[in-house]
């Protein structure tokens, strides 16, 4: 069938414009799951584009980039959605991505001036705990306390890498010493976010590394107000999730249309209660009820994409040494 379809495609290439165009978007797995933003986004975009939108899910953000690198210029993808600022420099290096034409009034806590990748949502990393317990308000106090935390491995998980960058951005050369203080608070390090959050919910730790928006899920979807994020006075590290268009795409205009749609209200209103992150452009109707209860850090930390790689190579051995003792 595959070959037949291919042969038919070659033979009828000249009449292809008459058919419904297809846009293929590679994204991470949880985006396309039935309770993620994927299904609603597909319906909303197809209602206005006269096209078919196909999502292809591939693991997490890092797996997504690995997949694009594996496929190279021959990739089927027209758009890649779901990289974050720790990955964008490596993604640009592949030379596979084209500049975008998205225009929007972002409501990000930082200036956005990337001409290759456009943001669609963002969130602060934060420790989540049970709201009725007292919590330390910075990394040093956490290190001095007897609170138990569970974190993710920066070598296999995006939030884990986020925490590594958070400590590095806040403490610079002192980061190693801060980690040494934290070592006895760390119950364990998990391969991914799910395992860590699962352990926290089972009562294995007092706090877990997650997002400031995590309590919103419990509040809105489960009507459970017992979880809260803790404000740290060093500031909070930012995760900005972005999308970009591939140079090799045969649907350049449609890809541009999708990226512009991505920052429109139709897309942005879907994000808060499916991806549980802040929309990159706050929709006209504002944020869903419940989001106003979340903490809003005074200071956003973000290491520029072009410096993230080099800094990671310094921070990773510091982390590993401190926690291996």
């Amino acid at each position: 069938m595959k070959y037949l379809a291919f042969a038919a495609g070659v033979l009828t290439a000249t009449s292809a414009f008459a058919e419904t165009p297809e846009l293929t978007v590679y994204t991470y797995d949880s985006f396309v799951s039935d309770w993620g933003p994927g299904p609603a986004v597909k319906a909303a975009f197809e209602a206005e584009c006269a096209c078919t939108l196909n999502f292809v899910g591939a693991g997490d953000g890092a797996a997504l980039l690995a997949r694009i690198k594996l496929e190279g210029a021959r990739t089927e993808a027209d758009v890649v959605l779901g990289l974050d600022t720790n990955l964008t420099a490596a993604a640009k290096e592949t030379g596979l991505f084209a500049t975008h034409s998205v225009e929007a009034d972002y409501t990000l806590p930082v200036e956005w001036a990337d001409d290759t990748f456009a943001p669609y949502d963002w969130g602060y990393f934060a420790f989540v705990h049970n709201a009725d317990e007292a919590a330390p308000t910075n990394f040093k106090a956490l290190g001095a306390s007897d609170k138990k935390i569970v974190i993710q491995d920066p070598r296999s998980s995006t939030p884990g890498l986020g925490l590594l960058m958070w400590v590095k951005a806040a403490y610079g050369d002192e980061a190693g010493a801060v980690w040494a203080e934290l070592a006895d608070n760390v119950v364990t390090v998990t391969p991914g976010w799910s395992e860590a959050y699962g352990l926290f919910l089972e009562g294995e730790a007092d706090m877990v590394l997650s997002y400031t928006t995590s309590p919103a899920y419990h509040l809105i979807a489960e009507e459970d107000a017992t979880k809260a994020a803790v404000t740290f006075d060093e500031g909070h590290y930012l995760q900005v999730e972005v999308a970009g268009k591939l140079k090799g795409s045969d649907q350049q205009e449609l890809a541009d249309q999708f990226l512009q749609f991505m920052v429109s209200d139709a897309f942005q209103t879907i994000i808060p209660t499916t991806n549980w992150m802040y929309p990159a452009v706050t929709p006209a109707g504002g944020l869903p009820e419940g989001f106003e209860t979340l903490i809003s850090p005074d200071k956003a930390l973000l290491i520029p994409a072009d410096k993230a790689d080099a800094l990671r190579d310094v921070a990773l051995p510091e982390w590993q040494n401190a926690l291996s003792k």
């Binding site: 799951s33 890092a62 594996l70 364990t188 391969p191 959050y197 699962g198 089972e202």
Partner: protein, 519 residues
């Protein structure tokens, strides 16, 4: 044993071995070909290698050590629920890693039953995180498997031997020396090698319960190389290293297996007149009770939290159970096609170490196999179309070493006991399989098929690398639920998965054990 005393054709077995080696090596070569730049082992890699090997040795040692008395006790006793307990032994093994870990932590974790009890009685609490936790979890996964393998060894002793022992009035000590010790020597090296290789490729268990980056395994380094660094050369070298260590251990262990045979019998039920005294009963009851508690408590915790979340499981997740089921059934078929001829070859060749080829599938990192085949398939076709096919082949490859370990000893025993008779009667080819081998191997085939089916239902496999939203399996859906805060629904999905995998295992295993000639 005379060369080719038994007319099992080696051609099919050798073809299967070549096919397996080609599948795995092609993936390795595909990854290596795409690599750029040179690779050198860092001190961190060596530390990871040391930790990986050390925890695997400890895990295999303790799994086998505890399996011996438990299997011995189960072999000597008949009691109500024995059959169910033996079937339950298959359960931990088939659980998705994170589910099993949460189950274990419900008992041994910081706020688990054990620590609650310790606190209630005013004792210091214990922390399970560290090497202890890693070994504990690996023993939880593998003790049951090792027990089943050894139990099978006990079953292979003809009932007439025990009758003779009873008539001679031998004390348990002598029985141990004359029968059980040679038996243990024959089974333990293979079981040890198998558990060692399983633990060698451990990643999520080792890291999650290891308590920090001390517990870095080679598999994690491979994952990092693929995902975060996209350093394919490094991934290929580390994968090769893992295969070499696993292969080396397997060759050594299989070479150590002595050729012991207890001869043929009339396939009567084993009756044990020799162990009816109170003291022996007490020992056996103690080991069976401890093993049962160790198994059942975490499973009960998983079941309880699963029942609470069952109502939250979205309807279409139930639908993916169907996909998982038929993938599992096709995987079982694929496994039998590979394993039976291969076992026939191994059982009749002089060089038992060829069984190592079966271990390749388990020793190779699934991520490496998946990525390698992705590279191979991508230029010709859409890998998503191949996702389920690749999953089936990988499932069969992963299950192959278990199947071989289950099939080969009994196959060898059959060969030794029946070779003269079948030769004299000129039975060979298809008839040899239909009349002699398959009927005698029925319990083993059922067990191996059950294990493969259950593993295939529970394994995330390579589907995560290939799949698109329409081709999800149940474990993938469970991870997706977990990854989006829906931990209760995920627990419910895990329970569905457990019931499905366990049900499949139970049906196939019971099919093998029922009407079996040599129960």
């Amino acid at each position: 044993m005379a060369e080719r005393a038994f007319q099992i054709s080696h051609r099919l077995g050798i073809s299967a071995a070549v096919f397996i080696a080609a599948l795995i090596l092609s993936a390795l070569v595909a990854v290596a070909m795409r690599a750029e730049g040179e690779f050198t082992m860092t001190p961190g890699d060596w530390a990871a290698l040391r930790f990986t090997i050390w925890q695997a040795i400890l895990s295999a040692f303790f799994s086998c050590l505890f399996a011996i008395p438990v299997a011995r006790a189960l072999a000597r006793r008949r009691f109500v629920g024995r059959s169910l307990l033996i079937t339950l032994l298959g359960a931990p093994f088939i659980l998705p890693v994170i589910v099993a870990v949460l189950g274990l932590l419900a008992i041994f974790g910081r706020s688990g039953l054990l620590n609650d009890a310790l606190r209630a009685f005013g004792f210091e609490t214990v922390s399970v995180y560290g090497l202890l936790g890693v070994v504990l979890a690996h023993v939880f996964f593998n003790l049951p498997l090792a027990t089943r393998l050894m139990l099978q060894g006990w079953r292979s002793v003809p009932a007439e031997r025990f009758r003779l022992i009873a008539q001679l009035g031998m004390p348990p000590r002598m029985v141990f020396r004359l029968i059980e010790w040679p038996l243990i020597l024959r089974i333990v090296p293979g079981a040890f090698a198998l558990v060692f290789v399983i633990c060698l490729t451990s990643f999520a268990v080792a890291l999650t319960l290891g308590g920090g980056p001390r517990a870095t395994t080679i598999e994690l380094a491979i994952y990092q190389a693929f995902r975060f660094d996209f350093d394919l050369g490094r991934a290929a070298v580390l994968s090769l290293l893992q295969i070499v260590v696993a292969g080396g251990a397997a060759v050594l262990a299989l070479w150590l297996i002595p050729q012991v045979s207890f001869g043929g019998g009339l396939d009567r039920m084993q009756a044990r007149w020799d162990v009816r005294r109170g003291f022996q009963r007490g020992i056996d009851a103690g080991f069976i009770g401890a093993a049962a508690l160790f198994l059942i408590l975490p499973l009960a915790a998983i079941t309880l939290s699963g029942l609470r979340g069952l109502g939250d499981v979205p309807l279409h997740v139930w639908g993916t159970a169907w996909t998982s089921l038929w993938v599992a059934l096709v995987s079982v078929l694929a496994l039998l096609v590979l394993a039976l001829p291969l076992a026939g070859w191994i059982a009749t060749t002089r060089c038992a170490s060829v069984e190592t080829v079966g271990l390749l599938g388990l020793a190779a990192s699934p991520l490496m196999i998946g990525t390698g085949w992705f590279i191979i398939i991508f230029p010709f076709a859409d890998p998503a179309d191949w996702a389920l096919g690749v999953t089936i082949v990988v499932n069969a490859l992963m299950a192959l070493p278990f199947a071989l370990r289950i099939l080969v000893p009994v196959m060898r025993e059959t060969v030794q006991s029946y070779s003269r008779l079948t030769q004299a009667l000129g039975v060979q080819g298809v008839r040899l399989w239909m009349w002699i081998l398959l009927p005698r191997l029925r319990p083993q085939i059922g067990f191996a098929a059950g294990l493969t089916g259950a593993l295939s239902v529970g394994d995330l496999g390579v589907i995560a690398l290939f799949a698109d939203p329409d081709r999800a399996t149940l474990p993938l859906q469970m991870y997706r639920l977990m990854g989006s805060y829906r931990s209760e629904a995920a627990a419910g999905a895990a329970l569905i998965l457990l019931v499905l995998a366990f049900g499949l295992f139970w049906i196939l295993d019971a099919w093998g054990r029922r009407h079996a000639i040599a129960e």
